[in-house]
Each structure stands twice: as C-alpha cells, then as structure tokens.
Symmetry: C2
Subunit: 729 residues, 2 copies
C-alpha cells in the first residue's frame, strides 16, 4: 500500500513537473481508481454499486445516441432524454476508468460530439416558464446539473481524447456552455445574477462552472466559481454561499428538503476543491460547516424520510443526493455514524474514491449506530434568526419526534407558518406538515412544477398546525414583509424525562403577540410520553384565532355532539387558503370544559384534549375544495376557533393504546387526560394543571417573560415555586 502511494505520488509529481494537470481530478483520482480497481470483487456491497454503473453503461452502449432538439418541459421526452444522456456519460466515464475498456470512453466522446454539434444552433428553450431559461432544458438549473455530471464524465475520459480534439471541444462547446451558465446572454443576463446568488441554484451554477474549469485547467472559471464573478468573494461565489446559506448548526433556511438538494452540489464541488485546491481547506472551512450540514440532514428526518418544512416532497436518506453527501462527508470527516446511514438507509455507494471508502470501512466494521438527538437548529447565517426545535424520544420503546418551526421565511420556498408543530410517532407521521403541492415531472400535473395550489394553499398559514389570525396568513401572505422577519427561540431544553421548545412571534399577525411552548413529557403513569401544547395569543383587540391540527388516520370520536355535513358541504372561507377546506363537521362543547378529539392511526390511538369554553368552535375540515384539477391531497384536520383578544390554546396530545387486528386486541383506546385546567395565564406566567382519569394530576409552570430566576406564583389558592423558564410538578 505504502509503495503504491509512493509510486502514485511520484507519478503525480511527474505530471505536475510537466505542467500538466492529472486526470481524473474531480470525484475520482488516479489513486482512488487504483484502489477501487484493486478492490473489485472483494466488497459485495460496493461491487453491487459498481455493477449498476456497468449495467447502465452497457445498456447505453447498445442504444443509439439521441440528442434531440429541446422541446419539452420537466418530465417530457426531450427533458428526460437530455437527463438520461448526462447519466450515460457519467456512467460510461466511470466505467472507462474502472475497466479501461475503450468502448465506454468512446461513448462519452460520441455523445459530447453530438452535443457540440447541436449546441451552437440553440437559442433559448421553447418552454418559457423560467426567469432563467436554459437552452437544452427549460431552466438553467437543469443546465447546471447537466454540466456537473458531464464535467465528471469529461474528466474521466480527458486523457483518452487527443489534445487537439479536446481543445476544439472546449473552445466550441464547453466554454460557450459554461459562459452561458455563468453569465447568460447579453439580452438576458439573468443567469449571472443566479450565479452570484446566495441560493441553491447559485450553488449548482458555481459547482458546474468550477468543475468544468478544473477539468479544463482554467483558473478563471475556478476563481469565479469560488469567489464570484468579480472574484472578490464578497459579491458571490461558492465560499460566500457556504457563509450565507447555512446556519452555524448546518441548517439551511429553505428547510431539510432543500438542504438535501443544496448539499449535492456543495459536497460534490467541495470534493473537487479538496482534490484540486487542497490549500483552500474547504472541508475545514467555517468550523467544518459542511460536516454540520450533513449532520443536520441525517438528523432532520423521521425513519429516514426528511421532515417537511416549507416546500417539501417525500424524500428519503436514500435519495441520490444524500448518497453523494454521505459518502463524501464520511471520506472527509470520518464520522462513523455516517457509515450507519449508508448501511441502513442507502445500501448504495457513489462509484468513486469517497464511495469506496464508505463501503470499505463498513466492511471493516467501523460503523456506529446513528443516534437521533433532540436539538435546536438555529436559522440564518448567524444562527439567530429563530430556528427549528426537535425533540426525540429517549425511551427505546418509543420512536417519536416533535418539531417546532420558528424560523425566518425560507426564501422563495418558504411557507407562512410561524410556530408550527409536527409530530411523528410509531413509525408514522401523526400531525403532518402538508409540504409542497407538486407532482415532480408529471406533465399532466402543471407540467411537473409546483401547482398553483402550492402558493394559494400549501404555503398559507391555515394549511399548517399553527394559529391563523382573522382568516389571514402570517404577514398577510406578503413574501417581502415575511422575509424581513423571523421568529425567536425563547427557550429550548432537552432532558431524559421531559423536554421543551418555546418560541415567540410578534410580527406575523399585526397587533398579536404569539408564544408557543411545547413540552414533551414522559409522564410516569402513561403508556407513552404526552405533549403539552401551550399557544398564547395576546392582543389589544378581539381577533378570530384558528388553530388546526392536521392529522393522519381515522376520526374516532369527539366528546360532544357535533353537526356533520350530511347532504351538502361548503368551504371554511373564501381566501388565504381557507377556500380549500371543506367543513365536514362543526360544533361547540357545552358539556365539559375539556374537549377531546381521538383518532386512530395504524395500530395506535391519539387524543388531543383542549381547555375550551362553550364559545370555542370546533371544526373538522378536509382539504379539496376549490381545487379544480385534483392537485391537493384530501387530508383531514381538526380546527379550534376562538374569538378573543387574549387567548391561550392549551392542549395535551396523547399517544395511547393499541389496535391490533391480527390478535383482535384493542386496549387503552380512550384518552387518559380527563381535564386540562388553565390555573393562571397572564403576561408573566402560565400555569396548567392536567388531571388524569386515574386520579393523578400534573402541573406545568411556565415563565413567559424571563427564562431565568426564581418564581413564586399564586394560582387558585396554591403557591407554585420554581426556577427558570419552566417546571413540571
């Protein structure tokens, strides 16, 4: 081994001495290729990933090369064909490196030739839906992804191509292509704005330009990619993106789903920078920010599925982006829990140096089980623009997660949902976030883009598990205003028996102060931990406060007589997302001061018990009204409405019982909470007592203005003393 490295180093030195750059130099290196070649057949898991590369490459060898004139949008034929082509080049390039069989290299060259021939004839793409239209694809974003993959392929076959041919290819094709991605055209320079933008599209652009620059040995491209078009590092570029797009905790403001997308070019390009410009020390940059970003992603998921914040589809840790990210991160940082992610969720490896390192070290038994932990992820470049609080169960027999989102807006993919909660339990999403309305690449569904209901419903406040005021969305649905504000984390503490997330939002609804606190409490006499949810609303004026809980599962019961829509059904409202909700049932609870809603999901029951008055209106809603094209999912929600100036929604959320059809066992099907009693609720303090059917009681004390100091509060004849932000008694 040592000898091999010595030899390779000598070779590299020779190459450098001759002023030549060694290839491959992006994801693969000559050393890595030598190691992988030597290891083929010794690691079954890695072999399987390599076999897929060969299978894809071989499939391509048997197929005619088709480089169609661009015509279709996402999901359409030409779109998918051009995607397929970059994958073919990528796979064939790697296959050439791993086998030395010329057919693979030649396939890459032939496809490049076809593109080089077509490209000069292309104007903008005929589908005009994007502000940054591409040429091969409808948007430049896809153009960047194409170049990222093709750069890797070109890098792989670089030495196979005669220098004169390379020179021609680069002059006539790659440089015009990179220039377009970087600068756009004179008539439409929008691409240049994107290239220098603090946005994931910008990261794709810098990665694409930087990577082709590295292959071609063109420092100008590389410098601009790293430091922006003006090369100062203060007006754009990859380094500045790392400063701006990620919080110190590795959180990305658009949310986990988009971090998943942004991490792909980040890690890819970082690996290339590390290989080509080790002096940049990219992986150590900003206290190893890329390690934290990958860490956030491997945490902000439930059973491997990314938690939904803002626009988000259902994506998992085994998506291709994360395979790249996890492999490269492990190779760079050596975190053994990443091996567990690769092993448990992915079972696939990128066919390059980093992927092989992961497969090799899993086989060597270096993996350590991933540990999901409670954590507050600060938002914003400074980490102080609110954040996402995550509480995880600590009991081995409980798999649950509770999140509170109290962040900044989240750029163009942000939703108007401050102080929103989601709850996951028993391997299911119990209180979901709708995520995005989008059918990716399905042409019949708005050509695969976000549907119009994404903006008009999914983004609106009422689509989320938080309070909408007076039928409006937070910040009245104004993107510009919302982007100027962020919620504030008031308090976060994670313990073995009880944990708390508390956050405030004072700008989302004019004249209304909002303060939401969730406590996840492993109450000794309950089967599973219980959540206490305290949502305080303070105002000088009366408002209508709507708090929905969207739930997955089947409605079991409400503890008061309600009116169900039987022969006709109407909508909850006419605007701000309300128009999409059918009102299936409604009523008021005049029988008791605690209203309980129980539903069943899979083999477990859930009960939401809320302190109510006869003035509280309860509504069962279902998504789907005013949706002419069936774009929305018909999910159900339970909504509490209160007309008041000051009001505090206090609810317990219980997981309980079992519904096992296989052994016909139903147990503990009713809520254990008998009453939720608000003993005291003012600007300074909130004290809540929860009474249980078993006769026990539990009191929660919250300090609303200060998280420190000793408190002594009298409520209903009793004195409560505690220190700090909260206490459970």
């Amino acid at each position: 081994m040592k000898k091999l490295i010595g030899t390779l180093a000598a070779l590299a030195l020779t190459a450098l001495a001759f002023g030549q750059k060694q290839h491959p130099c992006l994801l693969l290196t000559p050393e890595g290729v030598a190691e992988m070649r030597a290891a083929l057949g010794t690691n079954a898991d890695f072999d399987a990933s390599v076999a897929e590369v060969f299978a894809e490459a071989d499939r391509a060898l048997n197929e005619e090369i088709v480089v169609p004139v661009p015509q279709d949008g996402g999901g359409g034929y030409t779109h998918e064909k051009h995607k397929d082509n970059y994958y073919v080049m990528y796979y064939c390039g790697i296959a050439w490196q791993l086998t030395g069989k010329e057919v693979y290299a030649q396939k890459v060259v032939d496809i490049l030739d076809a593109y080089a021939e077509l490209y000069p004839s292309l104007g903008f793409h005929p589908v005009t839906l994007s502000k940054t239209p591409g040429r091969i694809f409808w948007q430049t974003l896809n153009e960047c992804v194409w170049l990222v993959h093709t750069s890797i392929a070109y890098d792989c076959v670089y030495d196979y191509i005669a220098p004169e041919k390379r020179e021609k290819l680069e002059r006539e094709f790659f440089r015009p292509y990179a220039d377009f991605v970087m600068d756009g055209t004179k008539e439409n320079p929008a691409n240049n704005r994107t290239f220098n933008l603090m946005h994931n599209h910008g990261t794709w652009a810098t990665a694409a330009v930087g990577m082709i620059g590295m292959v071609m040995g063109d420092d100008d491209y590389v410098d601009k990619a790293l430091y922006g078009s003006d090369k100062t590092g203060t007006n754009g570029g990859f380094i500045m993106q790392l400063d701006n797009l990620l919080s110190p905790d590795g959180y990305y403001t658009e949310g986990a789903y988009y971090l998943r997308y942004a991490i792909w070019p980040m890690m890819l390009f970082a690996q290339c920078i590390d290989n080509n410009l080790p002096e940049v020390k990219i992986f150590g940059y900003r206290d190893a920010i890329l390690s934290k970003a990958v860490g956030a992603l491997t945490q902000l998921n439930y059973n491997g599925v990314f938690m939904k914040f803002n626009d988000a589809l259902t994506k998992q840790l085994d998506c291709q982006e994360l395979i790249f990210a996890v492999d490269i991160a492990y190779n760079a940082y050596g975190n053994p829990m990443l091996l567990d992610v690769a092993q448990t969720y992915q079972k696939k490896f990128i066919p390059c140096d980093a992927g092989y390192a992961v497969a090799r070290d899993i086989a060597a038994g270096k993996s350590e089980p991933i540990k999901y932990t409670s954590k507050m992820y600060g938002d914003g470049a400074d980490g102080k623009q609110g954040g996402i609080g995550v509480i995880r169960s600590t009991r081995p027999d409980v798999n649950s997660a509770l999140t509170l989102k109290a962040t900044s807006h989240g750029l163009s993919h942000g939703h108007y949902d401050k102080l929103v909660i989601s709850y996951y339990d028993n391997d299911n999403v119990v209180l979901p976030d709708y995520g995005a309305s989008r059918f990716l690449n399905i042409e019949a569904k708005y050509k695969g883009h976000y549907t119009r209901e994404n903006k008009t419903f999914a983004m609106q406040t009422i689509a989320h598990n938080t309070v909408a005021v007076d039928g409006k969305s937070h910040f009245n649905g104004n993107y510009k205003v919302s982007s100027e504000h962020h919620s504030d984390i008031y308090y976060f503490e994670a313990g073995d028996k009880a944990s708390i997330i508390s956050a405030k939002e004072n700008a989302a609804a004019e004249g209304v102060k909002m303060h939401r606190t969730v406590i996840y409490d492993d109450v000794e006499w309950l089967q599973y931990p219980m959540i206490l949810d305290v949502f305080r609303l303070e105002s000088d004026k009366e408002h209508i406060y709507d708090l929905p809980f969207y739930y997955n599962g089947h409605m079991v019961s409400l503890n008061f007589p309600y009116t169900k829509a039987l022969t006709s059904m109407s909508t909850l409202g006419v605007a701000n997302g309300y128009q999409y909700l059918w009102v299936e049932a409604e009523g008021r609870n005049e029988q008791s001061a605690t209203t309980c809603f129980t539903f069943l999901q899979a083999d477990r029951f859930y009960s939401i018990s809320t302190a109510t008055t006869p003035a509280t209106e309860m509504k069962m809603v279902r998504i789907g009204a005013n949706d002419p094209d069936f774009n929305l999912r018909p999910d159900g929600g339970y909504l509490l409405r209160q007309k008041a100036a000051n009001h505090t929604f206090v609810s317990t959320i219980e997981s309980h019982g079992v519904y096992n059809l296989q052994v016909e066992k139903t147990a503990n099907a009713k809520a254990s909470v008998k009453e939720v009693v608000v003993l005291l609720d003012n600007e300074q303090y909130t004290i809540v007592r929860v009474d249980f059917v078993g006769g026990q009681s539990r009191t929660y004390c919250l300090s609303n203005l200060t998280t420190e100091g000793a408190h002594k509060v009298k409520a209903e004849g009793k004195t409560y003393k505690w220190n700090g932000a909260w206490a459970v008694m």
Copy 2:
C-alpha cells in the same frame, strides 16, 4: 427416539387399560410435550414462541386475578378482562406442561375457581345487542371462544387437580356452561339453533362443547358436537358443517376473511378429534377438505393480507387464527409450502405438538416457497354456486392479482355485489373492495360492532366495482332474495401470457342480463400486463347503469374537461348507498370516443380507458356523505354512467410507468392505450380492438353464448375466426 415413543406408547396403553383418558389430549399430547421439552433451547424460533408463553404466564402470576361481573360490550373493560383471563389460563396451562412448575397450574385452578363461583349468579349479559346473548360476554360466540381456550387450559392441568375437585368443577361449572352454549335457556333457546347451524358461529359452538367433552371424557357432548343435538349428523354438528360450509375447492361462502375465522375452530377441533377419535379420520374427510380450506386461505391473500370479499377487515396471514390453522394443517398434511407461510408471514408457532413440528421442519430445511397460482374457487357445498376467479401474474417482475367475485350471497356477511372486480399490483391494492365498516372493539365506534353504515353503504352494490342498475342494489338489497340466487361462472382459463375470467348474473337486477369478462393480458409492447374489462348489460327496457371503479391513489388526469365541485358539494343520490357518495366532479367526454382516467399510486401509474359516447357520464366520487359519526373511510371512486337498454362497458386497465422521487425519475406516465373500439357487440359475440399510441393494435374476440366450437364473425369489414370462448389477436 424410537425408545421414547415405545415408552410413551406403553404409558398410553397403561392409561387406557385402566379406563382412564390420558391428558393432555386436545392440542397437546404427552408424546408431544415430551418432544417439546426435549427440544427446548434447540430451535430459536420455536423457543421464541415458547418464551412468549412463559412471559404471558409470568406476567399473569404477578397479577391479581380479576373476574369481573360482566358489564361492557366488545372492547370494554369486562369484555377484554374475560378475554385476557382465558389467554392467561391457556398460557399458564401450557407453561405447566412445558415446565412442571406448579405455580402455573395453580393459577389456572384459581381462575377456574373464580369463574365457578361467579358463573352460577349470572343471567344474560346486560348488553342486549345480540340475538344469542351470552352471560360472560355480550354474545354467546365469545362465550364459545372462551370455552375453547379454557378447555385447552383445563386439559393441561387436568391431572394436577384432585378428582373430587374436578368432579365439582365440572358439575357446577363446565357442564352448565357447556349446556348453555349448546342449548341456551328455556326462555331463550337461540343458542341451540346456533349450535346446529351451518355457520361459523355453529363451528365455534360445536368445537367448544366437543373439546370440553373430550377433556371431561363425556361422549354425549362429543357426539352432539360431531353430529348435532340429535346425534344423527343430518341436522347439525361439526361433520355436517364441513360438508356444508366449504366448497369442494375449500372456499367458504362468507369470503376469505370469515374463512380465516371459521378455520380456527375447524382446525382446532379437527386436531382434537384426530387425537381423541382417530377412527373418524377427520383430516381425510371429504377428500381432505380441511387441507383445501387452508390452501384457499394461503392463496386468497395479496402479500399476506386477505383479499376482501363481503364483510372483511384488514387481516393477514400472521393473525393468530392462521398460525393455528397453518401449524395444524402442516402437521396433518405435510405440505411444505405451509412451512414457507409460517416462515415468511408468521414467524410464530402455537406452543403445541403441531407448532413444534412446523418449527422443527423449517429448521430441517423442508420448506418450499409458496406459489401463488391462478384458480377458480367454486362457491357452495357443491362448488356450483358461482365462485371467485383469481388471476395471478406469471412474470417474476410483476406482483399482481385480479379477482372477479361471482358467488352466492355469503350468508349474513354477504354484500350485494355480483360480478365485482378487485385489482392488486406493485404491493398495493389498486382497485379495492371496501370490505366492512367496523372498528373492532373500539367502543366509541358503535361499541366495536359493524357500524350502521356497514349495512347501508358497505354492503350495497354502489360501494363496489360492479354495475348498479337504476340506483338500486343487486336484488334490491333484499337478503332473502339474494340468498336464493348465485352468479354463474361462464369461463375460466389461466395461461402464461393471457388469462380470462367470465361470469354471468341474470337475477340481480330485474330484467337485466349481466355478463362480465376480464382478460389479463401480458401485451408484448407494454411495460406491465393490461386488463381488458368487458361488462355486458342486456335488457328490453332502458336503465341507468352505474359502474364505479374505486381506486387507491391520487387522481392525475381525465382526458376531457370536467366540472369540479369547488365551493359546495352534494351527494350522488339519496338511497341504496348512493347517499354516502359526494360528487367531487363530473362531465362528459365530447372530444374523443375513449375516455381515459389516470391515477398514481405509490411509484406507479394506472389508467382506465373506456369506450364512451358523449352520452356517457363520468363522475368522481368520494365516500363520506350522510355519515354522521365519521365511520366511513374517505376513499375515492371513478364512476361511469350510461342510460341505455343494452350497453357494454369496455375498459382497459393499465399499470404503467414509474414515479420515483428518490432519483426524481418519472417515466411512462401516460396511458399506452389510445383507443378502445367496440367492433361488434351482440348477444352472440363481442369483438373489441384496442389501439395503442405506438401504432399497434390488439383484438379480443369473445363468444358470449357458447364456450366451445369454431366461430367466424364479420365485423367492420373484417372476418374473425377462432375456437372456443375467446381469442386474442
């Protein structure tokens, strides 16, 4: 081994010589106990099942015995407690046999004592929902299940109890209990009717009485259990149940879900009969009918979940009933595919002779993979009262199943749905049968019984994938009339490339002849096999024909402009189940003669393409109107309506494409069928041509009156020749 058996046989002989019955004698035998004791610790899987027995038994040892005065219905406290008690006795009885630890035996005795003390004081159960009310439970059915388990427990501890005490227990408790189950009371002898009934409740009753009779050595109970109250075998009893309840193919008229329930006492009691009365040769009875019944159950499921016909909840092959059935059936018949069922789906074994045999033979590598095959299951004791046709995919890369139900009514659990289809594909239920509306043992849901909507919706024709005529259910929803008729299987043939099920129904809608044919065709140029669905309706008078396709998944597109309910929604009708359907959208296709509906489920698309005219009405419906208690699932359906005297609904059902969010790949998202053309349709023949977007065509020729002979038919200028019932060209 040989020696051991010799010794045991000698022991048995000794016991018999002394006129004593050996114990245990039901599910366990002294020989089996000896074998299991010797094997403990050698078979990890069986050990795990035994460990569960010990765990349950040990848990019970630490708990106080509570035998409450009966009060609650299904799911309520006393109901569940009495269930728990029989499990405790069952587990402790077996634990005593396997360990010889007296605490276990004593626990059984103590619980029996408590019941013996309580029982004489009991009148009928206070919950009066059943025509055969019990004493401990609200219905005698549960009383029987209690006695079946308790008999096994009593059998296990029989020798532990002093003879005088046994005599007292039997005289004061078991005999009155068995007499009540068998005969009821003077005031209410309904139980006697059930005991002699050809119904699964009757099987539970005969098993219960027969088993306690065997333990007590009382031939009178055993004879009545086997041959009915009058012991003639012609007016009731287990043997007659085997003749009447199962068809020659092992199908049970209520459906797979209830066969699953009926098979439990059948196999249990059969095992006891085999152990106590080997001369009856029960397992060979009626050409090994019990083997066929277990065979039908292990086939009438999709991925281990029982297909839904009539009343049915979601139950799987790993339900406890099937663990009993599979273990006992393997022990009796030795079918190695049953080992695969045990291994793949159950991973549990009954802690008795049969369960051990299964675990032992799996460990010995005797298992063979279960093979799902296409088959027609005749209904009725003679197998000629219609049947269930099942077509399974033969391609290893396709996991699909298509069923056509054309049976008799199915007793009290039957639904009014002649000629109904269901379709399963890609590990999901694509075109579902609603099954039953019931939340088992959930008190808040109609006390855990079938909800009222089970009768008013789930049983009605419009709730199913078949044609309802003039807004009415088949047989106008009249149980008595429906019970007098059955559909007829016209033709069934299963091939490697194409299979067909064809059935007729002439009585369900007065004056309307119905004939449905489904062909499952592995068309060479399609990604997955396609279904052709031809539903012929003939009448002298004009009718309204409604054909719904309930589907799981998200609506993608209809190929014509439709009107969606936007701000208000109303119901499809006012009676016969129609009142439960919201009309979400409707329209007519005036643009093309083939109407295509595409939906997405999981990562695959499905398209239903139907030959329509501008007079055909299409409606998108959703279940949930007129459902005051949220008892129904909000499933969606696609409905075709035609006003005509004669009409044939001809549709293709395609599975196609891929929607993979993880790699962002969407392909083949559109139907491949371009047009469905009915070339000819008369009393004698139906000829359908399907044109594909790729330019190919396929013609299906059906002979409607005879399944034999040579046919030569001219249609639209072309002559079609074929032999027999059908042809694909």
